[in-house]
């Protein structure tokens, strides 16, 4: 009885799985390599350090950071409610939260336009109060938060579910109130999930294009983020667009890989 089991265990995976897996891996890596190969290296530094490129990169980093903070402030409570409570309509709510993930970004942009735009549902009242979101950096942050929020919620909700509730119950029986339990037990327990969720939403915010273009506009230093700058540079200088694309890829890789390393160390 033990013998067949021993022969199966070492490999674990059916070997043929590696063929489509490798094809899939190549499918992701190959285009990036092709882009890397077509970078105009002698002009690289000059291309990525132009005034408008630096302005776009700085704006992108600032807005992505701001929208990540917003994602944490809104997403942590959302994930907690989705993972730890039960009421009618919860499955529907969970699907709705995921919606920005599957919507084309331009649709998100149009939706935001009719909400926060100058004539929008909320925007028209803000406008009366003297607050204008249109064509401001705030609009960029809203667009990025809209598309990035589900990444944090999904990732954190998953962690909350796998973490279980044993420690929370123990803390509660020892007399801790719900807020103390949430702050001292639940959050530290799912910190790696929270960090990887925050990183994912940062990376998604950094890459946001369609919703920003549709909703926020495109002005250097104010609303023209790195993806928008790349799109515009394509019109006149394809080499600059490729060079800036590489910068965006590098920033994304550093953030995602770096945080993975951190999260795997943080797991007890």
């Amino acid at each position: 009885m033990t013998r067949p089991a021993r022969t199966v265990v070492p490999s674990g995976l059916p070997r043929w799985l590696f063929v489509p897996a490798a094809v899939g891996g190549l499918f992701v890596v190959l285009p990036l390599t092709a882009m890397l190969a077509s970078v105009d290296w002698p002009r690289f530094v000059e291309l990525v350090t132009s005034e408008s490129s630096l302005a776009a990169l700085e704006l992108s980093l600032r807005t992505a950071a701001a929208s990540t903070v917003l994602c944490i402030l809104l997403g942590v409570p959302m994930a907690a409610v989705l993972a730890r409570s039960s009421f009618r309509g919860l499955p529907v709510l969970r699907s709705l939260v995921l919606l920005p993930l599957v919507l084309p970004p331009v649709v998100g942009g149009i939706a935001l336009l009719y909400t926060f735009g100058r004539k929008g549902l909320i925007g028209q009242h803000l406008e009366v109060a003297g607050i204008s979101v249109a064509f401001t950096t705030t609009a960029v942050v809203l667009a990025q938060t809209f598309v990035a929020l589900p990444f944090l919620v999904v990732s954190l909700e998953g962690s909350l579910r796998t973490a279980g509730r044993r420690y929370e119950s123990a803390a509660a029986t020892l007399g801790a109130g719900p807020t103390t339990v949430f702050r001292r037990v639940t959050l530290p327990l799912v910190l790696p999930g929270l960090v990887s969720g925050a990183v994912l939403s940062f990376a998604r915010a950094l890459g946001e294009f369609g919703a920003t273009l549709t909703f926020a506009g495109s002005l250097e230093g104010v609303t023209r983020t790195l993806p928008l700058e790349i799109y515009l540079q394509r019109e006149t200088d394809a080499d600059a667009a490729v060079a800036l694309s590489l910068v965006l890829v590098i920033v994304a890789v550093v953030i995602v890989v770096g945080s993975r390393g951190w999260a795997s160390r943080a797991v007890p």
């Binding site: 059916p14 043929w16 735009g117 004539k119 064509f135 273009l213 506009g217 495109s218 019109e235």
Partner: protein, 256 residues
């Protein structure tokens, strides 16, 4: 193990089959000599769609298919080896790229012109009547970025009038400018006359004489590696002839 390799073979066979089907999709296009693909600037979408219907009616058996996109995208695609029979650009610069790459059959023919106009919310609530009004403080103006043709035209008008605009956004396409005005995000925008005509009642167009300083000319050409050179040439002649003239004029295009 035998069973495994059998399954592996089945999976690989399936993968080959899928890839084969995918790559096979494009091949049947070249069979018919009467079918042409026209790469045309996005601003030509409605006029060229109508012209294609008329062309097909006059040339039974022919089929005109389109790829509409920004002229620079289309020029880049052609440069990368995209198959097409006719190229219609919204500006001379991108046509020059295709000509310089040696992809054309014959020389391009100018077939239309387009000029800028101001668009505002319906009824022009801000009372904008001149180009200089766009520079009034508090007026939210949206233009095209200087990198795209409508933006360079805007710059030419600015320098010829000495009016410096401070747009709240420099969009990468003229449709984006138009949509910002239609949505009420911006008070005014600078778009082509044809965009304003196409938008109908959604905007009010304010014609400015200064726009004559920046006339955009549209060239069209048959391409060298066409699979149906005869039909391609006929389509170019059709666009540049009286039928083309009539449809283009209706849409607001000027004569070349």
């Amino acid at each position: 193990m035998k069973q495994n390799s059998g399954r592996a073979a089945a999976v690989i066979a399936l993968a080959v089959l899928i890839l084969g089907t995918l790559s096979g999709c494009g091949s049947d296009d070249t069979d018919s000599g009467e079918r042409i693909t026209v790469f045309a600037a996005a601003s030509l979408k409605s006029t060229f769609t109508e012209l294609a219907e008329r062309f097909e009616a006059q040339h039974p058996g022919s089929r005109v298919e389109f790829s509409f996109a920004g002229s620079s995208d289309l020029a880049a695609q052609l440069d990368q080896g995209a198959r097409a029979d006719v190229f219609a650009s919204a500006d001379q610069r991108n046509m020059a790229k295709v000509v310089d790459a040696g992809l054309t059959a014959g020389s391009p023919v100018d077939f239309a012109t387009n000029t800028l106009t101001i668009v505002t919310a319906p009824g022009n609530p801000e009372g904008i009547t001149t180009f200089a009004d766009l520079a009034r403080p508090g007026t939210l103006v949206v233009t095209c970025a200087p990198q795209v043709p409508c933006g360079s035209a805007t710059q030419r008008v600015e320098s010829s009038t000495g009016v410096d605009l401070a747009p709240v956004s420099e969009e990468s396409s003229v449709t984006d400018v138009l949509n910002k005005v239609i949505a009420g995000q911006a008070d005014a925008g600078l778009v082509y006359v044809t965009d304003a005509t196409g938008a109908g009642d959604a905007v009010t167009a304010v014609a400015v004489p200064e726009a004559a300083q920046a006339v955009n000319t549209y060239p069209i050409v048959a391409l060298a590696d066409s699979g149906a050179p005869e039909t391609a040439r006929e389509f170019v002649a059709f666009v540049t002839g009286p039928d083309g003239r009539a449809v283009l004029a209706d849409a607001g295009f000027g004569e070349p």
